[in-house]
Amino acid sequence: MRSLYVPAVFLLGACCCNKEAVLTPVPPPLAPVTAPVQSAIVAPMDDVYFAFDRSDLSPNAQSQLRANASWMSSNSDAKVVLEGNCDERGTTEYNMALGERRAISAKEYMVSIGVNPDRMSTISYGEERPLDPGHNETAWAKNRRVHFRVK
């Protein structure tokens, strides 16, 4: 909004004086006293990762979830879908169920640290939507994730 403020003032100034349009440069307004917008400081939500065939949360996962919860509280209107995913190994049907357990595991932790459950829905994509199409442990580790998608 601030970026629009200055040109708008120029425009208003130009409209007021019909004959001799002397455009006096308006000094830029002082920085507003209100606190800076939170989203500039709080990092956007990131993926949470899981060990192979597991849906429990490692310390790193919990830490990321706390950061995600922080974003949620700074963006109190936001609703998110927690998308559970698996790597390509293992079998399709079992991975569907495992992906869901990961999403629910993440959601339950978020609820436990104060995020309103009504703001979060869960879905599993099993192994159907890998982030990294590679066939190695690096790719697989990236795919064993819950992704937070803002609606």
């Binding site: 293992g90 079998t91 399709t92 049907e93 569907m96 169920a97 869901e100 357990r101 159907e128």
Partner: protein
């Protein structure tokens, strides 16, 4: 009154004798044949003669029929096929030269003639025992020109039934998932991979197709709504219902002897198996165990269900009695056993096992846990086994050639080969009953 009833009865007996006794006699002879064969270990050698025809059109038909019959019999993997010797028929009277057959080791000879009658295809086929010269079968097949394949396969089914007592796979279909359009959709093909038809076009993700045993309903998981819903389609009326419960609706399988479908739902807070009616209504809940319960498959009489459960840690296969709901563990070898498929022909269960060396391979075990047999190895990942309706073959998805492709093999693991050429990945095959 009495005399009328009497004469009707006599007529009935006479008619019965005239029509049915000859067939009964033939069946008896065939049974003797089958018994003798069972004792032998080697495959029966069958000589398929070219079908005779006169006329351009008929000759084209003969070629198609010969290819269909040869490919069909070969597909079963049950016989040692050879072309018939050239000097089979006597030039003078058309009599069959059985000596020529036995000299090349043929035990069974088939041959016939195709002609056109009222625009229809008429295939007159005969099967002989090469050693005795006895005719084992003589049958006329008719149909439209567009039905040459089914006509040829009808003969194949009759020949295989004659020699083994079972009609093999002819007439059955396979449904599967392919992403050749760019998204995963459900397709159907004939047992031999021919005549592929696209069944869904959700342009989203469609998974885990399963046909009911009467072939009437197709069930599958579809993300068309944005969520993984269970879809049930009546294939004759082409109408669908969907089950959209909170959570997943995955891995449907129909319960034999009923019209109900078992599926994993998680709307009550955990992934459990439920029975669902064809109209989408939930019938009842089957499992009550914390952790994943998924991938049901039923015994031929529908009284038992094998499924995957996390209840003892990693995924293992369990068998539950439908009546008592008591479950016991089936698999103890390996740490990740999933995708069970119960043979329609008896008490064998095929499944995939993820092994320490990173391969996923297909195993078969008896329902009582005995007779564990590994069917694939050294060929990347081999998943989603599904039995042919007669239990003689297994279709599965293999990544041994790079992309995932459908493969078939005999139930003992021999003769593994790709089912079809197609773009994209092919997965999750399900082999229907013969209709």
């Amino acid at each position: 009154m009495r005399s009328k009833k009497f004469s009707i009865t006599v007529s009935a007996v006479v008619l019965f004798s005239l029509f049915f006794l000859p067939f009964l006699l033939r069946a008896e002879e065939a049974n003797e044949y089958i018994q003798i064969r069972k004792q032998g270990a080697s495959r029966i050698s069958v000589a398929l003669d070219r079908t005779s025809a006169s006329g351009g059109r008929e000759s084209e038909w003969a070629k198609t029929l010969d290819t269909t019959i040869h490919n069909g019999i070969e597909f079963t993997g049950l016989f040692n096929l050879m072309p018939a010797p050239l000097n089979m028929r006597s030039a003078q009277d058309g009599a069959l030269n059985f000596g020529a057959l036995t000299s090349v080791g043929a035990e069974i000879y088939t041959g016939g003639t195709v002609s056109k009658k009222s625009g229809m295809v008429n295939l007159d086929m005969a099967v002989y025992d090469a050693v005795s010269g006895k005719q084992l079968l003589r049958k006329l097949y008719t149909g439209q020109e567009s039905q040459l394949r089914p006509i040829g396969q009808q003969f194949c089914a009759d020949l295989v039934e004659l020699l083994t007592g079972k009609r093999s796979v002819f007439g059955s279909k396979i449904v599967f998932v392919s992403n050749r359009t760019g998204s995963k959709e459900i397709y159907m093909c004939d047992f031999d991979g021919q005549s592929v038809v696209q069944l869904t076009s959700s342009k989203s993700i469609s998974l885990s197709p399963a046909l009911s045993s009467d072939g009437r309903y197709l069930a599958w998981t579809d993300y068309a709504s944005g969520w993984p819903d269970l879809h049930i389609k009546n294939l004759s009326t082409q109408t669908s219902v969907s089950v959209s419960k909170q959570g997943v609706c995955i891995a449907p399988r129909w319960r034999n002897g009923t019209d109900e479908c078992a599926v994993t739902l998680s709307f009550e807070g955990d992934q459990e198996i439920y029975l669902v009616k064809p109209n989408g209504q939930i019938s009842r809940r089957l499992t009550y165990s914390r952790g994943i319960d998924v991938s049901p498959t039923f015994s031929p009489d529908g009284s038992r269900m094998a499924f995957v459960s996390q209840r003892s840690g990693g995924p293992q296969i369990f068998i539950q009695e439908m009546q008592s709901k008591s479950a016991s563990r089936l698999t103890f070898s390996g740490t990740y056993n999933t995708q069970p498929a119960w043979s329609p022909a008896g008490n064998k269960i095929a499944y995939s096992s993820w092994q320490k060396n990173g391969e996923i391979n297909i195993f078969v075990v008896n329902a009582d846990g005995s007779g564990l047999l590994q069917l694939t190895s050294g060929a990347n990942n081999n998943e989603s086994p599904s039995w042919s309706p007669d239990g003689s073959m297994i279709v599965f998805s293999s990544s041994r050639l790079g992309k995932k492709r459908l493969f078939v093999m005999n139930a003992d693991g021999t003769n593994q080969r790709a089912l079809m050429q197609s773009d994209g990945d092919q997965q999750q095959p399900f082999w229907s009953n013969i209709r």
